[in-house]
């Protein structure tokens, strides 16, 4: 436990003195703010038009037109930003040799991994917390369903955990941070796009692809539905990559 908290604090400290986190945070808030503004502004424009057109007003829905796209946008930005936060976790330690210190302290590989994962999760939570003021502003104008928002945020957090786990794995297999970031971004994009092939493959294989697609599982969360299937998918996805990371780190014992 002390190992986890020690590594956690070290990672947080390093994140706050390095420019990467600030840059990622800045871009994340800038983009999410812009996306939020544009969807909300478009929705309000439509609302004005609907005032003259009762037929249109029936199809207007804040959840479908603002909240759902907003969480989708957050997912895209996280896809771009998280490889940048995870790339240094192991690659930098390998390059600078500090991994030798870390692996000779009386702490297990699993605790180190848990500390690094938790620290990156904390950074993501912090970034996401930066978007809550958007919702508070929206609340002043419309009657928001906070349960729906909670489900949406939960989905994004779980999605973020999956991204981080895969990113940590790619960081553990190389000592080059750029390679780690590129491979993790590519792999995440692949998992993202798996579902697109559904329509051209057969029904069975298509369903498999659909279930593997990492972003499809977010849809139900953004509709306010917490389905155990989706929670289990993200949890397994995360644990799978963390497990692979541990196995890979362990290989230093027997590899030449």
């Amino acid at each position: 436990m002390r190992g986890i908290s020690g590594v956690f604090r070290k990672e947080i400290t390093i994140a706050f003195v390095s420019p990467i986190f600030y840059a990622a945070c800045f871009i994340f808030l800038l983009l999410s703010g812009y996306f939020f503004y544009s969807t909300t502004a478009y929705f309000s424009l439509l609302s004005f038009q609907a005032a003259q057109n009762p037929f249109l007003s029936e199809s207007l829905n804040l959840t479908d037109m603002v909240i759902k796209p907003f969480f989708g946008d957050l997912a895209v930005i996280l896809l771009l930003m998280l490889p940048l936060l995870t790339m240094r976790l192991y690659a930098e330690e390998k390059k600078s040799g500090t991994i030798e210190l870390l692996f000779t302290y009386p702490v297990s590989d699993a605790s180190v991994l848990a500390g690094k994962f938790a620290a990156t999760m904390a950074l993501v939570l912090l970034m996401l917390a930066g978007t809550i003021p958007f919702m508070i502003i929206l609340e002043t104008m419309v009657d928001l369903e906070w349960g729906l928002l909670g489900a949406g945020y939960l989905g994004v957090v779980l999605l973020g955990a999956s991204f981080i786990a895969l990113g940590i794995f790619t960081s553990s297999v190389t000592e080059n941070q750029i390679v780690a970031a590129v491979v993790s971004f590519g792999a995440l994009l692949m998992f993202w796009a798996l579902g697109w092939a559904q329509s051209v493959t057969g029904p069975t294989f298509g369903a498999v692809l659909g279930h593997l697609s990492i972003v499809d599982h977010l849809d139900r969360f953004t509709q306010g539905l917490i389905d155990t299937r989706d929670v289990v998918f993200y949890a397994l996805f995360t644990l799978f990559w963390l497990f692979l990371t541990l196995r890979f780190l362990n290989s230093r014992f027997w590899r030449g």
């Binding site: 908290s5 400290t13 390093i14 040799g97 991994i99 030798e100 000779t104 302290y105």
Partner: protein, 317 residues
């Protein structure tokens, strides 16, 4: 304290170390000496449970490095080669992290970091970022983290590489002070370092132990007899012949470029030197100088590592 049994480690098909067996007692400062690539770092990495051996067994305090790695790590402080440190952290933050991870907490944490900071003379640099420190100071930070929680075993991989002469002396003094009750195992390819610091030397070459003894014994051992340098005033050829004819003398070589001086190689009979002196004087020649030559550790080392590569006799006659 440390017990190494037939340790072998392969990197791919290439053996880094082969059949190394060693016993290191408590409280000794022991040096692993060898040229680059002799397997020093590999041995230390296995001892610190960073890697596992291909074959063989290592125990520290009776604990197996393979199965009880975390317990072994609790008992040692390690300074890796080239002193890797978290350069973005301040000295204080880094030592705090290392102490936490080593299981020091609460009020002990402050006391423990204070203690190592003082022991390594870092009081004035606590708040500075490690990346802004000079190489010598970084080395001290590395030693400080190794000393946290007062481990009974210190393992230092080339602790003085890359430092300037003043810093080297500083770090050596520090290591000597730190020794005391502790067992210190250090690796180096710098010879004077071992003769100054270590009570025992293990000479490694191509992944095998070539020799293991105290620095003094090593130098004596290899001599296999005495060497005496003589400077005699007298007819050159007659002197050389008379010396060579003495019982127990195995070889007489004139010193290069200095006439009237000879290097006499003889068996280990202590009575031979007085006899030599008497013989010279009784023959009516003048004995200008007579000196016993001892091999330096440097020569021992060169002798040992060149023994196998077919250059024998070139350095030690």
């Amino acid at each position: 304290m440390i017990h190494i049994e037939e340790l072998t480690k392969y990197y791919g098909l290439k053996p880094a170390i082969q059949d190394i067996s060693l016993d290191i007692e408590q409280g000794k400062i022991v040096g692993l000496l060898g040229p680059n690539g002799a397997g020093k770092t590999t041995i230390l990495r296995i001892l610190t449970c960073y890697m596992q051996p291909t074959a063989g067994r290592v125990t520290v305090d009776g604990l197996d490095c393979r199965t009880q790695a975390l317990e072994v790590r609790k008992r040692l402080g390690f300074l890796p080669e080239n002193v890797p440190l978290y350069v973005d952290l301040s000295v204080q933050a880094f030592l705090g992290f290392a102490a936490t991870i080593k299981g020091v907490s609460g009020a002990m944490l402050q006391r423990e970091t204070d203690r190592v900071v003082e022991a390594c003379g870092l009081q004035e640099h606590r708040k500075r970022l490690i990346k802004h420190l000079s190489k010598g100071l970084k080395q001290r930070v590395g030693l400080a983290q190794a000393l946290l929680k007062d481990p009974p075993l210190l393992i230092l991989d080339e602790p003085t590489t890359g430092l300037d002469p003043a810093q080297i002396i500083e770090v050596r003094n520090l290591i000597r002070q730190l020794g005391g009750e502790r067992t210190v195992l250090l690796s180096t390819h710098i010879l004077p370092e071992v003769s100054q610091l270590c009570e025992r030397v293990v000479i490694l070459h191509k992944g095998r132990v070539r020799k293991e003894d105290t620095p003094a014994n090593l130098a004596q051992d290899i001599q296999q007899g005495f060497r005496t340098q003589l400077s005699v005033d007298g007819p050159q050829e007659a002197v050389q012949k008379a010396l060579a004819d003495m019982k127990g003398v195995s070889d007489v070589q004139p010193m290069e470029g200095r006439s009237g001086e000879w290097m006499v190689q003889s068996e280990g009979d202590p009575a031979l030197r007085p006899q030599m002196a008497r013989m010279v004087v009784e023959s009516g020649w003048g004995l200008r100088e007579m000196r016993a030559i001892e091999l330096s550790l440097e020569e021992v080392f060169v002798h040992l590592v060149t023994e196998e590569s077919g250059e024998e006799g070139e350095h030690v006659s």
